[in-house]
Amino acid sequence: MNFEEHAGKSVLNRAGVSVPQGRLCASAQEAEAAARAIGPVVVKAQVPTGKRGKSGGVKLAATPEEASAAAQAILGMEIGGFPVARVLVEEQAAIAREFYAAVLNDPASRSPLVLFSTEGGMDIEEVAATRPESLRRMAVDIRKGFGPADARRLLLGLDLGEAAVPVAGMLVDLYRVYRLHDAELLEINPLALLANGRVVPLDCKLTVDDSALYRQADIAELGAREPLSALEERGRALDLKYIELEGNVGVLANGAGLTMTTMDVVSHAGGRPSNFLEIGGEAYTKGTEALDLVLSNPGVKSLVVNFCGAFARTDVMAGGVIQAWKTLNPTIPVFFSIHGTGEDEAVRMVREELGIEPYDRMEDAISAAVEAAR
């Protein structure tokens, strides 16, 4: 789950990390009032994606009138596919220097990784490529944690001057928040050294592990829900992973890998899949609900049912599809390929109850479905 800047800062603040004063505003009037209370401000689009500055989603405003105009310009923009419905109106900071700091899950070391760079405000990939000497990284033993001594070691040799102590403190704080909230990524760019010597996060990018939301209920309501279509919402309510696409060949398969592959083969055969939907794992018993979902997409002109059962029993899945087919009575053609656990029974059921002969090769079933959708 991604957290917009204001939500990420709110999580930091709740955990005792001080952040700049700011207000979340949904209209130009609100932005104007906020600026009147705060003084000179920055008006920033709130969307769960990066590149806001480059898209024109961040503007300085010296007066309440300028804040109103800035909010007017930014609200309603679309950034990275997200419509901007709210802006953060935040005090302008007297910035002396800008840094980069992040804590993230690192698949290579299979541990948390703390990153720091004296090059703030830039993409970290760019820093790594152009100024590698300014970038420090430390893999952390998650059982031991990351303390002040680790932070000092990480910052060794960087010219930080008076900022070294508050920066080290901030890194320890960021690691603490990362651990506390099961973050996949907590990135502060820029992390600013102010003229008064304080170090404060001027931005905040927070991603919390979806698998850990059950124990992060207290902050989950602050997170930005991924925008879902009506059908995707239905899938979520059924606990099925459904992604709506713009094609015309419906896909029903089991397991993430096989479902992706079915979509690939549809494309390879010159067609376009109308969805991703997997009924692997425990969801294999939901064949009926799954088929209903796939057929509810008005773009669907044909359907391919591709089962390769291991854990998921193909006879159970096929039974669900057959039952749904008889209930829904769709008019589009369907093409089956069924292999693996329960295969003989599944094939017999499809043949006898639907009068359809499954294809032996998955590629042949998919080609036929693509042809039928034309």
């Binding site: 899950n105 698949p107 299979r110 948390p112 592990d209 397991g255 890998g257 479902t259 292999h339 693996g340």
Partner: protein
């Protein structure tokens, strides 16, 4: 990580519905299951083997080599660390959706104790004709046959399809190594490839990849160094960027983890990457014939 009949297997969570079903399947296939774990039923027998309160207790009473976990996400970390601290050589973690911070704690413990973790979110490992650990249809002879091709897959369902295609094309498997669909897994594509390159029973390798992460790119370094033919299929070419395709690890963000990057790295290293899984057997035949010709020429030269 290739499962042998001599490997003694402990089943954590043996008394649950899935634990029971798959323990019976493993036993019927010939896997040496020596016990199970369930703290509430310790001292009883289940599937003909003793139940222990902990993996440590199992280690103290007869011992085991490999633990396979049928444990829900919230309890998986504790179970894995129990097995690791007990001295398991390998822990096969089938569980999906374990919080990443828990997974990192598991890996830190495994690194300290020299334990190999396979998974999380793996469907398991199979040595056809010898044994299997996990939830793969090893017992289906249309899918698994003893042979000389090693198969690596992040996905159980796609791995099953690939094995089916291979058997249909006349190729049995020396081993199936399911490594898991999570972003952070213990045994990587590269580790699995290294094991198959070292395995004298493996003549050729089918590497089944997926979009997301950079494991296939890292494995390509080894492809370039081995004489064993490597064929590959990478899933996710048609998947839209920014969406997790069922597997937490299968997501393309920016330029990272793309299909083109993986295919390019493998092809540059000398692997043959096919467009559809059904083309794998023919690609394998061609590469193996070429390799046989090369080694024949080598023998004549000697």
């Amino acid at each position: 990580m290739i499962v042998r009949k001599s490997d003694r297997v402990l089943v954590q969570g043996i008394t649950g519905k899935q634990g029971t079903f798959w323990t019976e399947q493993m036993q019927a296939y010939g896997t040496t299951v020596v016990g199970g774990v369930n703290p509430k039923k310790a001292g009883q027998n289940h599937c003909g083997v003793p139940i222990f309160a902990t993996a440590k207790e199992a280690m103290a009473n007869g011992g085991f080599d490999v633990s396979v976990m049928f444990i829900p996400p919230a309890a998986a970390k504790a179970a894995a660390i129990d097995a690791i601290e007990a001295g398991a050589k390998t822990v096969v973690c089938l569980t999906e959706h374990i919080p990443s911070h828990d997974v990192m704690e598991m890996h830190a413990a495994a690194a300290e104790h020299g334990t190999r973790i396979i998974g999380p979110n793996t469907a398991g490992i199979v040595t056809p004709g010898e044994g299997f650990v996990g939830i793969m249809p090893a017992f289906n002879p249309r899918i698994f046959q003893p042979g000389r091709v090693g198969v690596i897959s992040r996905s159980g369902s796609l791995g099953t399809l690939v094995c089916l295609n291979l058997v249909r094309g006349g190729h049995g498997q020396s081993a199936f190594l399911g490594i898991g669909g999570d972003p952070m897994i213990g045994t990587t594509t590269k580790d699995a490839l290294a094991a198959l390159i070292d395995d004298p029973g493996t003549d050729a390798i089918a590497l089944v990849g997926e979009i997301g992460g950079s494991m296939e790119e890292e494995a390509a370094e080894l492809v370039a160094k081995t004489d064993k033919p490597v064929v590959s299929f990478i899933a996710g070419r048609a998947s839209p960027p920014g969406k997790k395709m069922g597997h937490a690890g299968a997501i393309v963000t920016g330029d990272r983890g793309s299909y083109a990057s993986k295919r390019g790295a493998l092809e540059r290293a000398g692997a043959v990457v096919v467009d559809v899984p059904g083309d794998l057997p023919a690609a394998l035949d061609a590469l193996m014939a070429e390799a046989a010709k090369r080694s024949g020429a080598q023998r004549l030269a000697d």
